[in-house]
């Protein structure tokens, strides 16, 4: 874990991190990794399919997780192992939301705006709304709005004396919003059980990091709120897992952590975007070579946890699952027009 940098270091007695690169991080088995790899591949396959369906006019809009999978699924796995977390993800978190437990068909229904979309039943952009059975809220895709909400959620957990830790996800772009400041400041004052996770892919749509901030690391802001800021390689599944695990522990007992995961956006911003307008071709090419899913697969083969054949099988299974989901969602009904007036107010 050479990458990891700390400002205002985390004051945890947790050993092991940074020293045991060769062995698995605490709490993780070979079996876990194989299972999570299959889920990662499924998410990637879904992500690619959705993009293709957009080109066919069947999915109006999609944001891709490609390049963010290690950050999302690695941190999710830490949360799931912990078992007492609540998540506020953002719109680029298909891989996370899917791995959290939605079926492929449910995901596809959401992307097509069909009846049965578990987040909003077709009212919102894909996977926006809430998935309470899986402890996820993302009311909207308004950038930055989730930070104060998740802070308030964490505050309520503290008031109620339960031991939930909130994970709040956002991009580098969102870090510029005033509410990011307000949320972190309050979380610091009350030492709330929250981990702020910035998936920094160096772009807010087309705006590069140099026009967004004068610092290298969003995590450097944590010092101004009185809590630790940590930078990790967001393409490295194990580093993400281990650091998130540690951050959750810290948050539960000592207060907030700002965890910055350096990711890459392998695709354009959304299906509506053409990144060639603003990203040099060399950069696009270079970045697409830095694929966290491929990296995880290679690692698992290297370690002997998977054979290349098994990897191919996993990919084939994923494709099959996504095919079936596509068919099911295409055949599904649109939401009934009479639902237009439902739930303006709670019933």
């Amino acid at each position: 874990m050479a990458y990891r940098k700390e400002s205002n270091p985390i004051s945890s007695g947790d050993a092991g991190v940074g020293e045991v690169a060769a062995s698995l991080p605490e709490g993780l088995t070979e079996q876990d990794l194989v299972e999570i790899y299959a889920k990662t591949v499924l998410a990637r396959t879904m992500d690619e399919r959705i993009w293709a369906l957009n080109r066919q006019g069947k999915v109006p809009i999609a944001a891709s997780s490609q390049g963010h999978e290690a950050a999302e699924i690695g941190s999710l796995l830490a949360a799931q192992k912990d078992g007492r977390t609540f998540l506020f993800p953002y719109y680029r978190d298909l891989a996370l939301k899917m791995t959290a437990g939605l079926t492929a068909t449910q995901v596809m229904l959401s992307f097509m705006g069909k009846d049965g979309d578990p987040y909003s039943n077709g009212r919102q952009f894909p996977l926006q709304g809430a998935d309470l059975p899986r402890n996820i809220i993302q009311i909207s895709n308004v950038v930055g709005a989730g930070l104060t909400q998740s802070t308030g959620y964490a505050f309520a957990c503290k008031m109620l004396g339960d031991d939930t830790v909130v994970l709040c996800y956002f991009g580098d772009g969102a870090s510029s919003q005033g509410e990011a400041h307000e949320a972190m400041n309050f979380a610091g004052v009350h030492r709330l059980p929250i981990v702020f996770i910035c998936e920094n892919n160096h772009y807010a749509i087309s705006v590069p990091q140099r026009l967004q901030m004068a610092v290298e690391d969003v995590a450097s802001r944590a010092a101004g709120y009185g809590f630790p800021g940590i930078v990790v390689d967001g393409l490295d599944f194990l580093e993400v897992y281990a650091t998130t695990r540690e951050a959750i522990g810290h948050a539960r007992t000592q207060g907030p952590v700002l965890l910055e995961m350096k990711c890459e956006r392998l695709m354009p911003h959304t299906t509506d975007d053409d990144d060639r307008r603003y990203r040099p071709p060399e950069e696009i090419a270079e970045v697409r070579g830095r694929d966290p899913v491929a990296r995880l697969g290679e690692y698992l083969i290297d370690q002997g946890f998977l054979t290349p054949d098994r990897v191919e099988q996993i990919k084939a299974d994923a494709l099959h699952e996504v095919d079936a989901a596509t068919d099911a969602a295409e055949a599904a009904n649109p939401p009934d027009v009479r639902t237009l007036f439902d739930a303006v107010y709670p019933s």
């Binding site: 009212r123 919102q124 909207s140 909400q149 308030g152 959620y153 964490a154 303006v344």
Partner: protein
């Protein structure tokens, strides 16, 4: 029955609901030891502690955003926006997020939150401590908007608002806080949200109003009664849900409609009342629909002379009633 001021009635409502339900809490700037700048939360920190009476940093967007998040965890937050004029930074969380959380999650999320907002002028507040802000909230499906004018209504409606599962914007006219006093039952009571109240019966002209203006309308109605003008004063109390039936029923009876509010006229709540009448009870109308409202300037100035010129008052309302009667 005990005589209470509006601010006392609000304080009583907060205290009773906080005692009744441990998930109710208040948060905002200076709500703690200071007791709020208007003392609405005075004493609550002594009774309920720092954990349920939260002095926040000066950051309105987060006050509402965090209240919203806490509501998702099952709390019933009562964020206070110190003056209505400072509500603008909260609009994304309030109008963009809270109002749609239920709809946008297809009913999975509920937002039992009451945003308390001291508002309104006539108190030398100048451009930035006097605003009427109801029209945006009135226009936002998913919110409820309550505007009490008396201690009785304030207490009963605030208690209901706190028990409601929708986000409520609870608008308290600052000038009524100490000026308006009235009888309040000693026994617990609540008033359901969404019912207008006919504060004065009459057969000649319907006057629709709310908030501080209720009192000026009642004064004006009393003033012109001696001239043979028989006004009925409808106090909306709740802008959303809007009690269309009571308003339109009164217009059906009187055939004449005057709408009074302090907010500036163009695009105010009064426009909607007029539009509803001009559509739904058109055939009953015997006269043009008149509005007595603040003029289209950016809120009332600080100087006494200018503030007086801005404010609708008893005399201006009485004149409108006379004109309407003579039509």
């Amino acid at each position: 029955m005990t005589e209470r001021s509006v601010i006392e009635a609000i304080r009583d409502a907060l205290r009773e609901e906080m005692s009744r339900d441990p998930s109710v809490f208040v948060m905002g700037e200076d709500v703690g030891r200071r007791g709020g700048v208007f003392l609405a939360t005075q004493g609550l920190i002594d009774d309920f502690g720092e954990d349920r009476v939260i002095d926040t940093p000066l950051a309105e967007a987060s006050i509402v955003g965090m209240a919203l998040g806490s509501a998702f965890r099952g709390m019933r937050p009562i964020p206070e926006v110190q003056f209505s004029d400072f509500i603008w930074p909260t609009i994304n969380q309030l109008v963009g997020e809270a109002a749609r959380a239920c709809y946008g999650s297809n009913g999975a999320l509920q937002v039992p939150m009451v945003v308390r907002v001291p508002y309104g002028g006539g108190i030398r507040g100048g451009l930035f401590h006097s605003q009427n802000v109801e029209s945006l909230f009135f226009h936002t499906p998913g919110l409820k908007v309550i505007v009490p004018g008396t201690p009785y209504d304030a207490k009963g409606l605030l208690k209901s608002a706190i028990r409601d599962n929708s986000p409520v914007v609870f608008l308290e006219h600052k000038k009524t806080y100490r000026l308006v006093r009235g009888e309040v039952p000693d026994d617990p009571y609540i008033l359901s949200l969404g019912q207008a109240d006919i504060k004065r019966q009459g057969g000649g002209i319907t006057v629709v109003t709310y908030g501080l203006m209720l009192h000026y309308c009642l004064e004006a109605a009393a003033l012109v009664a001696g001239e043979g003008i028989d006004a009925e004063v409808v106090d909306l109390r709740s802008l959303c849900p809007l009690d269309k039936e009571t308003v339109l029923g009164s217009v059906r009876k009187t055939g004449k409609l005057v709408i009074v509010h302090e907010d500036n006229i163009t695009g105010g709540v009064g426009a909607e009342i007029a539009a509803l009448a001009a559509d739904e009870v058109f055939e009953y109308l015997d006269a043009p629909i008149a509005r007595v409202c603040g003029p289209d300037v950016p809120t009332m100035p600080f100087a006494q002379s200018l503030e007086d010129a801005y404010m609708p008052n008893t005399e201006k309302i009485a004149d409108a009633l006379r004109k309407q009667a003579a039509y």
